[in-house]
């Protein structure tokens, strides 16, 4: 389980890497060559992006004969989802209380 949200969020803050992640989620395991195809970018540049994604824990690499195969790591994606959900819950619960606090002070004024 990756425990470095910094690295995960950082990895996703780039449009190329985000597109790669989206594709891996949609299509499953894909070779480095296939992943590079939609981009007008050198192979080393794509490799660098894949390396960042791998280091963040968002994707895993497997060597299959001469191919480098990449796949998404569900745990890392879920971790982000959990973070967002926790944050949403925090605010909604806080706002419930804020509503009550404001109502009270309104009543006092009247």
């Amino acid at each position: 389980m990756p425990n470095n949200l910094h690295a995960v969020f950082g990895a996703l803050s780039d449009p190329t890497r985000m597109a790669i992640v989206e594709r891996l989620i949609r299509e499953g395991e894909t070779s480095a060559g296939d992943l590079a195809q939609p981009f007008a970018m050198s192979k080393p540049a794509i490799s660098r992006h894949l390396r960042v994604l791998e280091d963040s824990g968002l994707v895993a690499k497997r060597i299959n004969r001469q191919f480098r195969m990449f796949s998404i790591q569900r745990a890392a994606v879920n971790e982000i989802g959990d973070w967002i959900e926790e944050q949403r819950k925090f605010w909604n619960a806080s706002f419930d209380r804020l509503e009550a606090v404001l109502e009270q002070s309104e009543t006092k004024q009247k």
């Binding site: 969020f9 803050s13 994606v77 949403r88 605010w91 209380r97 804020l98 009550a100 606090v101």
Partner: protein, 145 residues
Amino acid sequence: MTNDRTLTLERQLGATPQAVYDAWTKPELLVQWWGPEGLTTPIHDMDVRPNGAWSTTMVNPDGGKHTCSGVYRVLEPPHRLVFTWAWEQDDGNRGPETQVEISLMANESGTLMRLVQGEFDTAETANQHGFGWNSSFNKLETFVG
């Protein structure tokens, strides 16, 4: 600022924008509603001015502590408030830094409050020409959801 690419929440409140703004910026008011029901915020330090630091530590009924902190970026009473936000992790480090923008719009029933959270507050993202975590945010939510 409202798009589907960030964590956006809205809440209709029966009070003036000024009253809501005060609830965000006056510590004695903020601690009355900060965090889910049952939590208290015994420790807080809010330097409410641009680039002033803020920190709050909430305590569970069972004694568990949660600290979040950040820096005020924009203070425009009574309509707008922007600050950075990060949870302190179990290891004592700050978690991912995000930015929170609160907008308060007067309407006939009081104030429509909008919260938008996203966008990393780091030099790294500042260099990325507007594309940022913002765009990633909702996409990932849809993957997860």
